[in-house]
Symmetry: C2
Subunit: 191 residues, 2 copies
Amino acid sequence: MNKRQQLIEQAFQLFYQQGIHAVGINQIVRQAKVAKKTLYSHFESKDALIEAVLAYRDERFLVWLDKRMTSVEPGKPALLVMFDALDDWFNNRVPTLANFHGCFFINTCSEYGNPESTIYQLCQRHKLRVRELIMSHVKQLQLNEDVNVLTDRLVLLKEGAIVTAQVQADKAAAKKAKLIAEQLLPDASLV
Amino acid sequence: MNKRQQLIEQAFQLFYQQGIHAVGINQIVRQAKVAKKTLYSHFESKDALIEAVLAYRDERFLVWLDKRMTSVEPGKPALLVMFDALDDWFNNRVPTLANFHGCFFINTCSEYGNPESTIYQLCQRHKLRVRELIMSHVKQLQLNEDVNVLTDRLVLLKEGAIVTAQVQADKAAAKKAKLIAEQLLPDASLV
DNA sequence: CTCATGGTAGACAGATCGGTATACCCATAT
DNA sequence: ATATGGGTATACCGATCTGTCTACCATGAG
């Protein structure tokens, strides 16, 4: 019973469902069944807790996506299965990621308008890490074209799908994005 | 000097740059140079003000986008110029829309997790209206394919570009999305 | 046994929140 | 001449926020 982890996980749940500013410290400690003093012995402020929550979610999300993408043949299948994974996420078939409420990092950036802030930059870093993961699979395609270009396009489709699934409540957004991705990826996965 | 409008515009500026929850009523009236009582004579609560701000931005954005898209030949050029318009927005070349801080409606949904709330639904409605605008131009293509499918794809690219420009600070996101859109749109704009 | 450690429960402090009330000002229309 | 409507400025209310402090409890090591 690691209190620190308990706090992080409970804080994430609340932040993700209701937004960070809308959730108070008292609510977190109450639901985590932890004394307020314990929270402040582990984290020096609410901001420090938020940063820990971002790191936790970053890790969770990347491990999950990496596992899904390496569970099939490398190259085109791996890139396409990413959209199947997103589809599972949007439709709440991934308990690890909690009930879908959009991308936690996009949401957090929306709440913290200032790009100079540590919190904002942690969100950017997460997106960069996801991009790196996708790019590593794009490289397996062994294309002549620029790897960055194709990576950017897939990332853009992914972000578009996430936001559409959230705001428009379009649970089929991942499937739609996948169809576009299929058009972007060359038929011969390995030359 | 319409005080009501003054309040809406100043509130929008602050909400858009800092997030709604992060901005207090006192800050709004101070910067709008309006007495607090005047605010509450025009709006019965902060939520009512937020709703008015959403309606204001909805109108502004749609008029702007509509003008841009009808300023060129209908069909494919109109759909592609949308991405040029987004590019201008992302790079702060559209004073009407204020300095780019992502999509105000996506940001607001991120802060108001509950899809049942009026505020959330106003955001959805805005996105639906933008979709309708895009679809009206897709129809001009006179395609055999399903109009909804192509519309959804263009919307997805648009959302992806907005989020990428915001979180990743990728100011070229619109140009990248445009290249994908060109690939999706048929060469012959009118059969 | 003793005592340090890490925990609980919750009162408290100081600031700020949304919203109301008071007191005053001033232009215009009757 | 005066009454009224819309505005200003600001004190105030109760609630809630982050963060601190006090007092107590349990457990395991020396």
